[in-house]
Symmetry: C2
Subunit: 435 residues, 2 copies
């Protein structure tokens, strides 16, 4: 009550920024250039009061009064004129402690920090709920694609069963290049780096860490449960070859780095790995650096969201959308309006018990009887073969094998036994298949 | 302030339903079956207090206590135990007067009624804003696909330029059948009717009225301006032939009933008509009864939403999502939190001044010199031809013509002149092209 009376007396909503990099500069620019529009939506101007940066003296890509700049994050978080703290600095520390302090001080928090949320989201949400303040993080997944609010609000009534997504633009760009132009992984990665779609150290993207963090955030919202990125099974795309992509295409599939969270009778499947996706699937056409998320619910059916999954401008649009939301709530004393649900702990469905079809590419000695020996191993491990096709001849032949649905544990036993066989030169790729 | 104190004393949020048809029955079922989940999200149970139906004595598809039923809509709207009025009865009257009465009485309103919103949306929004109560209508467009909230909240910071959508499932299903199986429009319509995807009287769908109403609602939200369905230029799909679809496919296009709202330097283009869409376009792959909306903004880029655009269960999920939203706001005295923006009147860009490429299918007398005479007409009207191809021979030949971008008014003059030419037997189709 007091909060509302105070808010109605305040002429402006005060915003504090932590960070002024690519996203932070765009956020500042949007808040300034769209100030009148934003004030119309909120009912009060939203004004930047304080900005924490590593080196306040440095040249900036936006024009910003130097009086706003400080090197002290705590000064932003504790400024009484700051109502909403916007964290676009990245990294876990000191972002975590600064945001916990902001929430404890009754300030709303908007963050784009997926790494922080995927590691400490539950702690931050609990702090927001206990303080009755907003914690908004639309920009942490899929940049400007609305995902968190649709999941947390629009689809709140439904029982969601599945989140299936292409959550990393770098790997999707690399796989698109490999698929369209027959490039190797290394060539496509080099081109992605040259075009600014991949970092100098690409491990966070190509090994699936980035997608796993985003999946953890989406799944936590969709299934209303604390999930950390470490709980997500993870495989990268470094082992995918042009031959795999070619063979997959011949079979009617495209290869994507897929992120999946599925409700299995209460337990959650959480996994990020390359997958063969049928060309008619809603995610198969998502090309280049685009991201997409497919949500399946009992009532809503299969709903797809897609768009540019990265970039300063789209990320900043999502951040400022959250600032507007938090400001609207703050002026009405309605902070934390979407955080009231009790969160339920869920078991993680063990990866070994995943049941899914597999694609295998083997190099085997090309002589009579080899197929029979290979097939026998599958049979003994209860893995049913759907097709086995020799793709080349010579001393060593490429063989492509598709299984019916099989248990992951059984497939791992098959692979271990194949690796030990004298007639099997290489188990080149083992890729899960979406039906 | 008083409202909040009162709300915190209330044990439950009261819901009143107007209508108990396909959607209403699903809404009731969701509220009962998901009661615990919904109470967890809202912080209080949401309980149905009163339901208005045409004939209270009739057999229902849901089990509902007969004590809840009344034939008097006003009794629902004026029941002091009803906090949120949910309108799923359809039609303009008496829905309009009942909802205006509900809003004037300080009740939140959730409606799925696109016809009402497309005709009287501005009046209802003004009533909601002046009462400081919520008016939610997520279910009015695209059933369970989150669209209104993402446009109104998530993308609020951005300057949106374009809404481009496939907003009618019936026509998309018909065009998909025509495209995949070479059916005529009449055959495909009959099959859609047999499968329950089209009404006995299909005019509302196939003539574009339904899509125009939905576009008016989306554009009003995206561009924050009052728009009525009558302001949308409209053409149906009844004139599309299997030959058009075949020729379009040969040229690399698919034919869709497209709904477009575009900001042209402040004025709005608003149109629903068949269009040739390049097969690589984000909307080209939206098949069967699926709907999709592509939103383009300065910052967010091109964001796509797609899903089932109709059906009792998805529509009900959107309605109950809105109920949860309205209930959360109500308990915090935050009704009308998203309605504070002043709305700006916009000019409508006149259709005659639309500039777009065209596809034409003509039947002409097959003799030398005919191409030259036809081409001369285009040239005299300043319409530049991109290609002209004869598709059949005989006394009368099919000719397919593609133009570069041309003004709609010029193309209308060309068509009128072609119709008057002795060598032109038929101007079969004139279809706009998306580049």
């Amino acid at each position: 009550v007091e909060e509302i009376l105070m808010a109605s007396l305040l002429p402006e909503v005060g915003v504090g920024l932590l960070g002024l990099g690519t996203v932070g500069a765009e956020v500042y620019r949007l808040l300034v250039e769209r100030a009148e529009h934003i004030a119309g939506l909120v009912g009060r101007p939203c004004v930047v009061r304080r900005v924490a940066v590593a080196r306040p003296g440095r040249q900036r890509r936006v024009r910003i009064p130097s009086s706003l700049l400080t090197s002290d994050g705590a000064a932003v978080v504790e400024d009484p004129a700051v109502d909403i703290v916007v964290e676009v600095m990245g990294g876990v520390d000191p972002a975590r402690s600064l945001l916990l302090r902001a929430l404890a001080g009754g300030k709303a928090v908007v963050t784009a920090n997926k790494q922080l949320l995927a590691a400490h989201g539950a702690e931050l949400l609990a702090a927001a709920a206990s303080g009755g303040v907003d914690l908004c993080f639309e920009a942490s997944v899929g940049a400007g694609i609305p995902l968190i609010k649709p999941l947390r609000e629009s689809l709140a009534a439904d029982r969601l069963r599945l989140i299936e997504g292409i959550l990393n633009g770098t790997t999707n760009y690399i796989l698109t290049l490999m698929s369209r132009e027959g490039r190797t992984f290394a060539e496509a990665l080099a081109e992605a780096q040259a075009r600014g779609f991949a970092e100098a150290d690409p491990a966070d993207d190509v090994d699936g860490h980035d997608a796993a963090a985003k999946l953890a955030i989406l799944a936590a919202v969709a299934f209303n449960t604390p999930i950390a990125a470490e709980q997500v099974y993870r495989e990268g795309i470094g082992g995918i070859t042009p031959a795999d992509i070619r063979h997959a295409a011949e079979l009617g599939y495209t290869i994507k780095l897929l992120a999946v969270a599925r409700d299995r009778d209460g337990a959650l499947e959480l996994r990020v790995h390359p997958a063969l996706i049928p060309v008619g699937h809603l995610l198969a056409g998502i090309a280049e650096e685009r991201n997409a998320v497919l949500v399946e619910g009992d009532a809503c059916g299969r709903v797809l969201f897609s768009g540019p999954g990265a970039g300063g401008a789209p990320t900043a649009a999502a951040v400022v959308g959250d600032i507007i939301d938090a400001a609207r709530n703050r002026l009405r004393g309605a902070g934390g309006r979407t955080l009231s649900a009790p969160s339920v702990r869920r078991d993680i469905h063990p990866m070994e018990r995943l049941v899914i079809p597999f694609y295998l590419r083997l190099q085997v000695t090309d002589r009579p009887g080899v197929f029979a020996r290979i097939a026998a191993v599958f049979g003994e491990e209860q893995v049913s073969i759907a097709s086995i096709v020799q793709k080349s001849r010579g001393e060593v032949a490429d063989v492509i094998l598709l299984t019916h649905e099989a248990e992951e544990a059984a497939m791992r036993r098959v692979v271990a036994r194949l690796r030990a066989m004298d007639v099997v030169q290489v188990v080149g790729s083992v890729i899960r298949v979406v039906e």
